[in-house]
Amino acid sequence: MCIRSYKFFLLFFLITSCEKDDICLEGSANTNRITIGFINSENQDTTGISLKNIKGLNKDSIIHTNISAAKLKLPLNISSNTTDYILNFNQIDDTLSIRYRAIHEYLNRGCGFISNFIIDKSSENLNNLEGWIKEVSIAKDSIFNEEKTNLYIHF
């Protein structure tokens, strides 16, 4: 009779020890950055740009320095509804303020939550008058991937 209980013990350890580890698989959905394009206000064409540096407002560390690109990908603050960046172009600082709604989406135990964003259309631009940014326009307000340009800076 006791042999049966040994078998049960064996089965128990077999099943519990083979418990799948909850690893977040590579290629799982992830939190995306905002994609920013640039439009030259003289001819209304999308162009590349060279920025001296980019950093978050009230932050010491710099996100990008000496970057020349057609598109810029910037991380949004996931636990706030505003992210302010200071963009330095030709030694002139300007503030780009993005208002949005962060929606945290549950994936699974291993991956936890990711964040999607909906950019708020009502408050799209907050720049000082002295700056180089003339206008900001929103092309795509939802950020669920990094393929499409969400926002254009007119300069």
Binding site: E19, D22, T31, P75, T83, A102, Y106, F113
Partner: protein, 245 residues
Amino acid sequence: MKRKQIYIFIFSLFTINFIVGQEIENKKSDSTIVKKKLINIDKLSIGIDLYNPIYSSINDDDLSYELITSLRILEDFSIASEIGSLDRYIEDENINFTSTGEYIKFGFDYNLFNNWVGMDNSIYLGMRFATSSFNNKIDSYTLRNPDSYWSNNVTSDYETINHSDQNANWIELLVGIKVETIKNIYLGINLRLNRLLSNTSPNNFNNLYIPGFNKVTDDNSWGSGFNYTLTYSLPLKFNKKTSIK
């Protein structure tokens, strides 16, 4: 002696099967000891689980406890139940949450161990049906984000929600031992293999932990658990014991 045979006679009126079994039993063993009856409620055990209260007090959670009762209705067979309440702060990989709730388990134990006369230990197999009503409150989490320029820790708002009124049902298979350490006081351990039958899924979260069931893994309805038990057993038939002696 005569009285016992009268008992046997009375029981034999209830079931025909039993008469046959009883006769064989008598022929085999010494006819002076007649033990078996159809239903013989002779012992009530009440006890507690030792692990959960200690764990919860070490970790500054509210007191978690589990009350265990079992009623022996046959020589090797008891009906058993556990009622428990649990409060546990769980630090998972990405999500920290507090699981609170109550659960009830009901089923039976079957003893496989043949005791010597005067001993009352057991190695048993059991089965339970269990149900739990609970809340899972997300306290904080780290968001999955390849970029960490801004903090990815969320400690308030967003999904730090109390997911209340959750329900789950499962069955348990268990194996355990129970040893009489002092007279009528037993220490034991049992291991449980749980199979989830149903589980509510809250909005934008999963129940990663169910009180009574323990950890729930993704895409897997199996779980496991264990108990350290301390039980006191109350003999219900004093007369019978003395008459055997």
